[in-house]
Amino acid sequence: MFVTVVHLFLILVYNSIKWNGRSMFKFKNISKEYKGHFWEKKFVALDNVSLSVDEGEVVGFLGANGAGKTTSIKIIMNFISPTSGEIVFDKKLGNNTVERFSNIGFFPERPYFYPHLTGREFIGYLGQLNKVERSLIEKRLAFWAEKLRLTFALDRKIRSYSKGMLQRLGFISANIHDPKLIVLDEPLSGLDPVGRKEFKDTLKYLSENGKTIFFSSHIVSDIEEVCKKVIVLESGKLMYQGSISELIEKDSHTYLTIRVKINEQPAKDLYLKSQIFDQSQGIYEYEVEKRLQDKFLTEILKLGGNILFLGVINPTLEEIIYKIKN
């Protein structure tokens, strides 16, 4: 008898741990309608969306302009309330909105700051609201500013910051309280290629440190690089939720572009398309299926060709959405 009770109890505990260990937050049938004035037609920005983000995952939130990404994120952050449906957070984040916010790091799309404060003052402000000790704020600020190459500008007024610098400052502010869950709206927009790479590396770094990350983007390759899981939204409807590699692999559109300097043409069945790139120098460009990549390259080398360029053509957002629809 006693053993059975203990056993049952253990099962209960196990299940609750398992549940707690799984979902950081969940959308349950969330819809959001925007109503303008009473004579205007209402607009459905989110239509019965259910999704789940698990602990420790990096989840990309993919959708075209106007798909409803920002709307969803505002609902997560309690800035707006859904018309129907509910959002459930893991108890680990806290029992109410205020408690939860000490465990969530967020920064909005196109962030804007108080222009007359310096970067350091602004981070100090937010750190204090998060009840982080002064010395710890300084320590974390120094760490992140170093990592994101912003140290030089910390004592300048924010008014003088460039777009990329603002983005970096926003990123630091989202991490100043060492949150469990990080929610970012288009963190990569407005950054140059080096900056994008840096941000993606930073996201990977955070993920390796056990953070759960949820960020939106409309660029497939960015999400592919950082995330294992993707959630795709289109016109307010959930289109796909799951592994990103499965989504892209299944896609028949994975080609390579290979540019070679060659005198003889390779066998026709090794490539899909060819075009003359530079007639006078004998440079051609081929579109090759990924599975035939190795065969094609050996053939070129055998023929004495010179490989000048090789690039992967990633599927675009439109192609992915088109594919999901069919």
Binding site: Y34, T71, K74, M77, F79, I80, S81, V98, E99, F101, S102, I104, F106, F107, P108, R110, P111, Y112, F113, Y114, P115, H116, L117, E121, Y125, L126, Q128, L129, N130, K131, K157, G170, S173
Partner: protein
């Protein structure tokens, strides 16, 4: 509660660093210049005219400031998404709003007293004597500017910036003329109109109660009971408007 203090501190720092205060001091000296020129044209009552002009223009400057800074205080934050930065932290919305209000109030406080001291010093220099009532007048101007600040915040929460400014100016004017309107004989005969205006007078802040400017020029004192009554009225009104703003802001969709 500590959050209220943090928000008000940084609101203050932000405005302070924008060099508005410096401009206000310059304005103070401009006011002195104007009052001086005005007083030169008067015969005999030079100091009084200077005081009248000085206090009057200071009052308009402070009211203008509370309208134009107040209107952007929250609506800018919401439109520019700085509010998102703050409200995504462990802070209650009403703490944020109250902190903003207090930070802005301290800016108004500094303005009123800096300008006030400059003007009174000039008045003293011209041979006038400073009375306690003059400090009350400054204090009441500050209270009025705080009420205006809360009114403009209220409107900026429910409409757009332009309309908020227009509505607030309307309230400001009504708050000053309603009392006088009720005294007009023609209106006193219209029963319904009187009832209607009295009702409006109850809702709209009665700025006549806070207006000591006319008294300080000629009188040197007012009954203490009157001052206390006005003070209580202002404090109650400020409390009422603050709660109203909190209720609206707590429910507002920040999109």
């Amino acid at each position: 509660m500590k959050n209220i203090f943090i928000v008000s501190k940084y609101t203050f720092v932000e405005v302070y660093k924008s060099k508005i205060l410096l401009n206000i001091i310059l304005l103070g000296f401009a006011l002195i210049l104007i009052s001086y020129i005005a007083s030169e044209f008067s015969h005999g009552a030079q100091a009084r005219i200077a005081l009248d002009f000085g206090i009057g223009s200071m009052y308009l400057v402070v009211i203008g400031m509370s309208i134009f800074i107040g209107v952007s205080l929250l609506s800018n934050e919401v439109e520019n998404r700085t509010a998102y930065m703050i409200l995504s932290r462990p802070i209650k919305r009403w703490h944020f709003l109250t902190g903003k209000f207090l930070g802005m109030s301290s800016i108004l406080f500094i303005n009123v007293f800096l300008l006030g001291i400059i003007i009174l010093a000039f008045f003293y220099f011209l041979g006038g004597s400073i009375s306690a009532l003059m400090w009350w007048a400054l204090f009441f101007s500050l209270l009025e500017s705080q009420i205006i600040l809360l009114v403009v915040i209220f409107f900026s929460l429910i409409t757009n910036v332009t309309m908020a400014v227009i509505y607030t100016i309307c309230i400001f004017i009504l708050g000053h003329v309603l009392g006088a309107t009720l005294m007009i004989n023609y209106i006193r005969d219209q029963y319904i109109l009187v009832k209607l205006l009295t009702l409006t007078k109850w809702i709209i802040p009665d700025f006549d109660k806070l207006n000591l400017k006319d008294y300080i020029i000629y009188n040197h004192s007012m009954p203490f009971g009157y001052l206390m009554g006005s003070l209580c009225y202002a404090i109650l009104y400020i409390g009422f408007m603050l709660i109203l703003n909190i209720i609206v802001f707590e429910r507002k969709e920040l999109d």
